[in-house]
Symmetry: C3
Subunit: 296 residues, 3 copies
């Protein structure tokens, strides 16, 4: 999954850093001002410690590239954009991720830096994105989604935990209190039309036109002046981004609630039902999350 | 209108406090984690000092119940969810309501505490809700409304007063400046489709499916972990709720403007036209409020 | 283009100040509480130093008129509401505009004061409004737009500059981060349906009903109590308006980026293509702005 095209940047770091072997995504850079990142981590694009580490490295490149105007994140898997975090995969490595350059915990760090990077980040969404997958796309600047093939959600509360990667902070500002509370507390899947209605995504595009329309937007942005993009975005950032201090306590809450025996057992049951696999459970997680609840 | 089913809570207060005789609503508690409150104050569910006192007591119970996850507020009257405050009913008792446990005036207090309670509050809306009735549903966490049978509005400015129960603070954050100003200043009725378009409610549900769909959402929430709900909600609260100090001056303005002779005369004319009764005026209040205006 | 009807105000300034000869718009005042301003600056309603000076004077009148409840801004040109700022028209006069009564630069000053005036301002939109034209309507309180005939946009980033009149501050609060970033960075035209979907306008009205429906809203507002409007609006202002200090740096950025040789050349090419004229370029500016970009 190495990148297939690498155009050198003017800052001397050239294409070497970019064209390294990534394992959870591929990177294509058809021009110095435009880059495409395609998630490909079979079977369902879960996020693991490796994904976080690679995204951290990638965002570091985005931040420092004076030629780059726009980065598109899409998926090689039509059914799964980014499934969610796989908490059972390399738990020691997840625990060891530590903090990123901002001093924030690694996952929060990479999302915060992506939001602030002087580059327009576009999530081109096809398939499912839940939990940390939803948090990733909420940290992108623009979200375009397949009209026919999109399912988004924050299923964490259904599993007895608090979303830890900034969902409350970002959704509350993006869609308003009532709709944010519904997404977060009812914790069910949102299809494309409801996601668009709520403002969870910018707008829907017919599935067979999604790639072409995102490409048109991207090639437009690629030709614009970098400084104009950077400064304009920074003014919107000041009004719309949460402060760092808002993000850390929620992650601590996630960890505390996740560590409880009842929740560990609940996650174990969900694994048995097919979590992290290309399963019916994963295709209908919003509804089927109920099956892992303790009997009441 | 006593509650029909009362399930004891684990905090020792049992069902006694809950199953008292309420006069402006009934309370049903089919399980420890789920409670339904049905407004029933004939003929049109106006809010009076008695409603405020009973809601204050009820919210006190909601706040302190570690088993309760979700409370639904609906109406026994298909045409009126909560008409509005009846200012002519027991004015002395309204004046004597004083302040609630937060130190805020009673009506503001009950709405503020409902918004912050560690319980998901759902307004299941059928019929009309204006003025304080609209303020009540804006203080709930989630708002689902009948597609065919919903009329919402803040008619106060049409009567020469300022909405005093937090409408400006809540609507401005919920639907944005332009649409909040339209709701508040044009002061007309909003039907379901426009309320949904503006974000005044989360979304519409076909009238014949409203109860079943709210029940499905509720039974889902009832099974979730209380601590996960409580903490997740609290993070959204921090971003989206107005500060207390924002709410008090508007209520003072309401009282000052309402006390002017021209406005007293205007309210008197509206009473003569059918205010507080199950009248054509109440069914078309947004439009007919003009009839009480002084001739110009 | 003098005003045709002028009703005296009770503050003694009478109709003299209002009925002066305006050159970029006409003013009609059918009653003391209602005023209509119609932009008419052929060929395409560009904004120039003269427009800013006249709007500054007009807003001064709006601010101090205790009888005026509502002002409607529409256009005599069905194809152009307010094209954009004409930077090549009287550049010396633009540079000499200085600061307004708030101490803010003149264009920012007039928009800030319009937003805070104790009068409901309504943009009744038909045709194109881009750049400063879009900034103007964003500073109005309510925005109603022709369903069939509306094109809005902030094309500045496509020209290598930062919007300088408050777009980032206002759009970010009005439509949320994701949609604000799309409007500002992709910098393309938004037609009516997308503008309504994003909350860029309050709502659309069929073109042949726009005038009548805005008139109905206006005549309603004209009959309401001035003090109730003024105070209610002021509470929404506190929650939704940007602080002055947020607005000045963006204008400085505009000036700095606009002064670069590459951007001067880009604006020159756009002029050659038909900018500021009733041209095909102006009708499709969002798309054709690309033609002025340097070859890459």
């Amino acid at each position: 999954m190495n990148a297939t095209r690498m155009n050198a940047s003017s800052n001397g770091r050239g294409s070497d850093a970019w064209s390294q072997s990534w394992t959870h995504f591929s990177v294509d850079r058809p021009s110095p001002s435009y880059c495409r990142v395609t998630f490909e981590h079979p079977p369902i694009n879960t996020i693991t410690a490796t994904t976080v580490a690679e995204l951290t490295e990638l965002v570091g490149l985005l931040e420092q590239d004076p030629d780059l105007n726009v980065v598109v994140f899409d998926s090689a898997n039509r059914d799964f954009y980014l499934a969610h975090y796989d908490v059972e995969n390399e738990p020691d490595r997840t625990a060891a991720l530590g903090v990123g350059p901002t001093g924030l915990p690694a996952w929060v760090d990479v999302l915060v830096r992506l939001s602030r990077a002087p580059v327009v980040s576009i999530a081109s969404i096809r398939g499912r994105a839940r939990g940390a997958g939803s948090e990733f796309l909420l940290a992108c600047d623009l979200r375009f989604a397949s009209r026919e093939n999109t399912l988004l959600g924050q299923f964490e509360v259904g599993m007895g935990v608090v979303p830890g990667g900034g969902s409350m902070a970002r959704l509350a500002r993006l869609v308003g209190r009532g709709r944010a509370l519904e997404i977060l507390l009812v914790a069910d899947d949102f299809d494309g039309p409801r996601a668009e209605q709520y403002g969870y995504v910018n707008r829907l595009i017919a599935d067979d036109q999604l790639d072409a329309e995102v490409e048109a937007i991207t090639s437009r942005l690629a030709r614009f002046d970098h400084e104009a993009i950077k400064r304009t975005k920074s003014y919107v950032d000041r009004v719309t981004l949460p402060g760092d201090s808002e993000l850390v306590p929620a992650l601590a809450d996630f960890r505390e609630l996740f560590g409880r025996p009842a929740q560990r057992a609940q996650w174990g049951r969900l694994e048995e039902l097919g979590l992290n696999a290309d399963s019916d459970l994963e295709r209908s997680l919003g509804r089927r999350v109920l099956e892992a609840l303790p009997d009441t």
